[in-house]
Structure formats: C-alpha cells, structure tokens
C-alpha cells in the first residue's frame, strides 16, 4: 500500500513536470490569452483575524465568460467568504482558451482546484474517477431540486456528481429586424425551415452592402462538432452513433441533406468564406455585418452589454428545421460546478457549492437577470424568482428561449469528442466542397469506427 502511494506520487510529480515543461515550452499559459486572475484574494478581508486563521481554504476555478457573469462569480465568492468564517474560498478566473491546458497541468501535478466549473457530459469524468460524489456533502433536498432535464448532466444512477448552474440552448437563430425589413421581409418572423432560410437569404443578399452577409452560422469543424448535434438530431432523428455505440450512424441521406443546406449557404455566398467572429461571440452581429447569426442563447447577453441599441431590434427564434421535422434543432448546453475527487476538503467544497448555487435563490437571481434571461436555472425556485424580477417584462426573448426552444432540446452527446469532431470535419469538408458529401461522410464513418474500436465504446454505451 505504502509502495503504491509513493509510486503514484512519483508518477504525479514526473508527469506534472513533463506537462509543465511542455506547457512552458509553449509559452506562458495560452498564447494570446491573459494570465489567470484571482477574482477574490480575500486574505485579510475575512472579518475576525482569529477565525480567519482557522478557516479551511479551498480553491475555486471558473472560466472567463461575459463581463456580467464574471462579476457574478467574483461577487458570489466574496459574499460566501463574508457570510461565514469556517471556509475561505479563493476564486480564480481562468481564460476560457487556457482552461483545458491549465486544468490538465494541475491534475497531472495533483493540484486541481477543489471546486471548478464543468461543461458538457459527466460520464467521462465519472469513469475516470475525476469527479467526487456530492450525495454526502450537499444536502439531499438541494440535490432533489434539480429538474429532470438537468439530471443527465448531474447524476449517474442515484449518485450526483455535478450541480448545474444553468442550462442554455446552444443553437439559436438571431436576426436583425432592420435588415430584414430593408429586404421587404417580415421582421418579426424568422425562418421555420431551411428552405425558408435560403429564400430569405436570397431576398436579403441584394440589399447588403460590402462586407455584409446574410448569415454567420458555425463554419469550422470543431464548432460544427458541438453546435450542430441538435441539427443532426433534427434531420436524422438520431446522432452520430447507433444506440448501442457499436457503429457510426452518419452515412445516410439525412446527414447528407443537412450538409447540403450548409453547402447552399456557402455556394451562394450567403455566408462569409471566413468566419467574421467566433460562434460563441456576437460582435459580427453587433456590428451589423450579418442579418442572421447562429449562436447560443447566451449571445443575447452580449448584445445587451455591448450593443444595447440592437437589443430591441433583435429577433430570436429556433434554428430552422428540416422539411417536415418537428424535432428540436439544439442541444442544451450547461455549466456545472463539480468537486474534484482528490480534494482534501470535500466538506468545505460541498458547503461552498451548496451555499452558492444550491441555496438561497436570491444568490442566483442577479446571474440570470444580468445575462438577459437567456439561461435557464435547473431549480424551479430560482426560475420563479427570476420570472418575478421586474426586468423580465422587458425581455420578451426570455419566453422564447425558456418556453419554445429549451423544453424539447436534447442533452449534449455522451460519446467522446473525437466522434463529434469526425462529424464536424465531414460537415466542413462537404460545405466547402473539399470532398463530395458522400465521401466526407464515409471518411467520418471510418474515423468514428476507429474511435469505437480504440475506446471500446460498445462497452461504455449508456443503457
């Protein structure tokens, strides 16, 4: 036993060193990103020096989001620290692009934070032993409050491993009402189907100036990979794998039809040949370079903070569907808080998590209000408190996001990223004409088959 522990430490130190060396060689942190920043270095701020000395200190990492979200994270840490003296939380805001490598290095060195934000599915993290069970450190009534739609990203069986802060549709269509009006279109009604979208783009294109385009959708393989899973489901009624995860399920006319739609946008110059902004960002839309923008529901909060003049002129709706399909076109993204399996302060971590996002709904109301009602809480009590806020009446899109788009949205896929990426690559290749669509899908199927074999997916399929 003693040998095993020291061997593990030995391995950890070595790999941490290797990872650190790799990352150091690559430059500090992520190229192009600022260094992480402590959101609340509360040393000295805790009232009562003697109790501060006895406090358990835990680390909390969260990604850089929009300014209002970052502010909420900083405040919630500060409020928690001020509310009690037993646990001191040190919050660190990590640039989103630097997150993966910073976290990997910390995990390799056995220095992962006690609590951190976590997107996507939890199965891989649970299988790898990365996430700590929450049942014994978060009150059961708080866990019971998580709505059914969020359970796939919170629990495996009856064991909870994550507490979601929010759910948000990852594929929403935004449109500039003024630009639609200029093209003689009804500014209040967005396209319901792909055919309607293409017809509207045909009408809009002649009215555009230089450097303006009809639409900016996802345009590269990694973005297609995660943001179009809902569209794949809309067209095909399934996603990239068979239900038992034994084979790829992409070589079919439905997947080809989806790619044909994007190819039509590309070939007709309805979309730019190089993305004007990232999928997750809204500056191309805010600068009125595009009439339609496809992004997650979160983009509305960016419009609200950076382009307030556009807020009243922005239409919001479901992304267009395949002809005759009534299935959703979006996945429901999420951000959860998790406790690291190696934490030495699980009780303190649970206390912080429970107080901040599983406790008083008033703690969460500013988050959902300031993000322009574009995200959905996983707790009914919080949803009610947010709906009661006076500003809710001025956000008509909230009803569309919450009641029209989110309810039938599907969860993010549980299969490995490489499967999604293979589909995303096929979509980009087919759209750009780098490969015929059937060849692109055949390549994707071959790649997925390899991932199934490599990762033994048949044994990991969810029941």
């Amino acid at each position: 036993m003693g040998f095993n522990v020291s061997r593990r430490h030995f391995l950890g130190a070595g790999t941490g060193l290797a990872a650190a060396a790799v990352l150091t060689a690559c430059g500090s942190g992520t190229p192009g990103e600022p260094a992480p920043e402590e959101t609340t270095g509360t040393g000295g701020e805790t009232s009562g020096g003697e109790s501060a000395a006895a406090a358990v200190t835990i680390q909390f990492w969260h990604r850089t989001f929009t300014p209002v979200e970052n502010e909420w994270y900083a405040n919630i840490v500060k409020q928690f620290n001020e509310s009690q003296s037993e646990v001191k939380v040190v919050g660190t805001e990590v640039p989103a692009d630097a997150w993966d490598q910073k976290m990997k290095s910390a995990q390799a060195a056995g220095k992962a934070p006690d609590v951190y934000t976590h997107p996507g599915a939890i199965q891989d993290g649970v299988n790898a032993g990365q996430l700590r069970e929450l049942n014994d450190i978060v009150p059961q009534e708080a866990l019971d409050e998580i709505i059914d739609a969020a359970l796939p990203v919170s629990a495996v069986g009856d064991k909870y491993y994550a507490y979601p802060l929010l759910l948000e549709p990852q594929t929403v269509l935004f449109w500039n009402k003024t630009m639609l009006e200029a093209a003689g279109l009804d500014p209040e009604v967005g396209p319901e189907t792909w055919d309607e979208l293409l017809e509207m783009c045909a009408a809009i294109k002649p009215t555009l100036g230089e450097g303006q385009y009809c639409i900016q959708p996802a345009a590269d393989a990694p973005t297609f990979a995660w943001s179009t899973v809902g569209q794949q489901y809309n067209f095909a009624g399934h996603t990239a794998l068979t239900d038992d995860w034994t084979a790829p399920n992409v070589e079919n006319p439905e997947y080809a039809a989806l790619i044909e739609g994007y190819k039509a946008l590309w070939d007709n110059d309805y979309m730019p040949k190089q993305a004007l902004a990232a999928y997750v960002a809204g500056n191309d839309y805010g600068e009125e370079k595009v009439a339609f923008k496809v992004s997650g529901s979160w983009m509305m909060s960016e419009i609200g903070s950076d382009f307030p003049d556009l807020l009243g002129r922005t239409g919001v709706g479901r992304f267009p569907t395949a002809a005759g399909s009534d299935r959703t076109t979006t996945t429901l993204g999420n951000f959860k808080w998790v406790v690291d399996a190696k934490t030495a302060n699980a009780e303190a971590a649970g206390k912080f998590l429970a107080w901040s996002i599983a406790g008083d709904p008033a703690n969460l109301v500013p988050f959902f209000v300031n993000t322009q009602f574009t995200k959905v809480s996983v707790r009914q009590s919080v949803q009610d408190a947010v709906a009661d806020d006076a500003a809710a009446a001025d956000a008509p899109w909230s009803d569309i996001v919450t009641n029209e788009i989110a309810p039938d949205a599907i969860s993010e896929p549980m299969y490995p990223w490489d499967v999604s990426l293979a589909v995303g690559t096929a979509m980009e290749a087919g759209m750009k004409g780098a490969q015929p669509i059937d060849v692109a899908l055949k390549t994707a199927a071959d790649t997925i088959a390899q991932v199934i074999e490599r990762d033994g997916l048949a044994e990991k399929a969810p029941n």
Binding site: C26, D100, A128, Q130, G211, P222, P272, K273, Q274, A275
Partner: protein, 308 residues
Amino acid sequence: MSTTTELISKAEVKRLNKSKYRDTRLAFLMLAPVTIMLGIFVIYPAFQAVYLSFQDWSFYKPPEFVGWRNFTNVLSDPLFFAAIRRGFVFVLMTVPIMLVLAFLFASLVVSVGKKFATTLKVSIYIPTIISGVIASIIFVLIYDYSGGLLNATLANFDVAPIAWIGDPKWALFAIAIPAIWLGMGLTSLIMVAAMVDIPEEFYEAAAMEGANWWQKTLYITIPQMKNVILYLLITGFVASIQQFELPLVMTGGGPLDSTNLPNLFIFNHFRNDITVGYSIAAALLLFVVLGTVSALIFKVLNSEKLVD
C-alpha cells in the same frame, strides 16, 4: 613528441597533472547546474514519458499497463500521419525560403558600410524578439476576411476577398509567412557572422583570377559556410516541424486540419483526451521521426571533414 616529454621533469609532470585535475573538478562543477537541470527537466521526464506511454492513465486512478496499445492507436491513426506529412510540407515551405532570404540579406549586410550594416542587422532581428503570439495576432488582423489589411490592399486591384486562414488551400501558406518572418532574424545574423569569418584573402585571390560574384559565392562563400548552413538546416527543420504557436493562435489547426501541425495535433490530444497515453506515445514517435531526419541530414551533408 617523446623528446619533449623527456625534457619535462617529474615534478613538472606532477604539477601539470594536479593542474589538470583541478581543471577537471572545475569543469564538473560548471557542468553540474546544467546537468542537474537537464536531469530534472529533460532526462527524468523523458524516461517517465516512455514508462507512461505503455499505461492508460487519467491522473485519478492508478495507471493501467496496456502494452503497445497507445502506440498501435497512434500508428493506425491516419490523422497522425497526415499531421507528420503536413509538418514536412511546412518545413519545405519555410526552411529553404528562409535560408535563401537570410543568405541574400547577409550578403547585403557584409557588402555595405558599417553604420548601414548595423541598421540592417537591427531591423532584421526585431521580429525575433517579438513573441510568436503577438505575431500571430498581428497576422490574424492582416488576414481578416472582412476589413483585413491584405484583402483591403488587394481590393484596390479588384481582387475579391480571399479567406487566407479560412480556406484550406491558403491556410498553411498564410501561416508559413509569419514563420519565415519570425525566423529570418536569427538565421540572418548567424549567416552574417559566418560570412565575416571567411578570410578576405580567398576573395582577393578569386578577384585576381577574374571571378565574379556568383563564382565567389558558389566556390568560396557557400563551401566555407557549409557547417553553419548545416546547423541552420537542422535547427530550422526542427523548429519548423515543431511550429505550434502560430497555428494554435491563428487557426486552431483548421480549416479542415490544413494547419494541424504535429505538435498541435499532439497538444490537442493532450488537452482533449481523458487519458494521456495517446499523446505521450505520439510525442515519442514524433521524437523518433525528428531524430531520424536530423541524422539523415547529418549523414547526407557529411560535415565532419570541415569540422576537423
């Protein structure tokens, strides 16, 4: 030789030996810091990496021995080989152009006056001290599809906007340009130093024989710089095939993997995979490829004679 030895007294030999051992101790002492650092940061992690490449490990559970599986996974992955091939294409796009341009620049520097040469040297070296990240961001702005400097300039000649980093046909080329720009400074200065070291008498003799610039370059300058060129070829090849920052910041490896160079391919696996075995095995295989090619270059160019 033997006569000389006889002339040195026994005491003298002892004194010389003592001095020699003192030098040896000093040499070991001076080598110690770098040896220790190499041991900690290179040798130990390298052995550790070899050990872990045979394991399945996610940092949270004890590593599980999987034999050669990580290596077979890498070797059966067409994307890995595509990344290696792309790396070689990138080397061909950057290193020869960089060497030729640096050679021409160095020739210019040694042929002009001292003050002007200093100005030239400073100006060519500036990109070297610019961070690769900053350069990447600058070039992303230059290549911007709508409003970028390059497309705006081309628009004056009625050229339609080009998706420099959005089109798989152009993207690798678009990344090669800043790579050459960043690497030119050091390469040029090393070449200048090598050219300055060539004895002037060689050129004077050639001039007396009526040799022109081309003949002097072909028969004196290049042969005399053979070792330097070999050094620049090897370091340029290794640096180029390992280029990481430019594609990471400018394109993320896209579009359609057209700029997914070997190191970025490995890094993305390290970042995304739940276990680290695949990325370590891929890194070790890349090490083998780099070592083999470097050895081949040494063998083909055969520099030993000139070193002697």
